[in-house]
Symmetry: C2
Subunit: 131 residues, 2 copies
């Protein structure tokens, strides 16, 4: 059996994608949610790094290919309906979000209906991403 054989059982949506939840393997923090197609799933398994499909750029997105902040794959799981993937990773550089924060989920809903931004910026996006 090939390492990628289970991918045949994944239920991709009409665009060939599944949501992928990325969690810190050490403490379970939710780092980001992105999408994977069959190719991204396969490459994630084969390279042991987080690889996604960018819907905005419409191409494979090897997380960290520009910033160096790759995600080392620790484990992978599929949900009951086989239409959502969980990957647990070690996030190199500490920040998964393109804004420089550890987690993309930094808009915290307050009791009064406001969104409060919490989360230290671990890097300066302008220095990391070149035009």
């Amino acid at each position: 059996m090939d390492i990628t054989s289970w991918i045949d059982s994944v239920k991709f949506d009409g665009k060939g994608l599944v949501p992928a939840v990325v969690q810190d393997a050490d403490d379970g923090a939710l780092l980001m949610v992105a999408y994977m197609n069959k190719e991204a799933l396969t490459e994630t398994l084969q390279t042991k790094r987080g690889v996604f499909f960018s819907r905005s750029r419409n191409k494979l997105w090897r997380k960290g290919e520009e910033s160096g902040n790759v995600q080392e794959l620790k484990s992978m799981a599929l949900d009951c309906d086989k239409d959502c993937v969980l990957i647990k990773v070690k996030q190199i550089g500490g920040a998964a979000c393109h804004t420089g924060r550890r987690s993309c989920f930094f808009h915290h809903v307050q009791e009064d209906g406001a969104l409060e931004i919490k989360g230290e910026q671990l890097f300066d996006p302008q220095k990391i991403y070149k035009k």
Copy 2:
């Protein structure tokens, strides 16, 4: 400002939905991923319970309305792109998955490409869900 005023900034997809990641508020375990529309987001905030939109049944899904296993809302956050929601909850009954397991993500990818089912069944679905 109304408690739901931030919902106006959420970027729903073409079907009016956003993915909602549900995490255990205590230990960060990923319990499930479902979808919310504007009504589900609003009701989740107002009732302090996890309310989703069922794509298969095409209607609002008040989690636990049949099983009693409701999700008490502890906090809510939005990601950088404002197109994905995180809710942290206390899962009553201990199991979020309709199969009776704590987490929906019980298909664990093995080194040989097989999926191994891990996760104790905390309830018997046939006893909980009536036809």
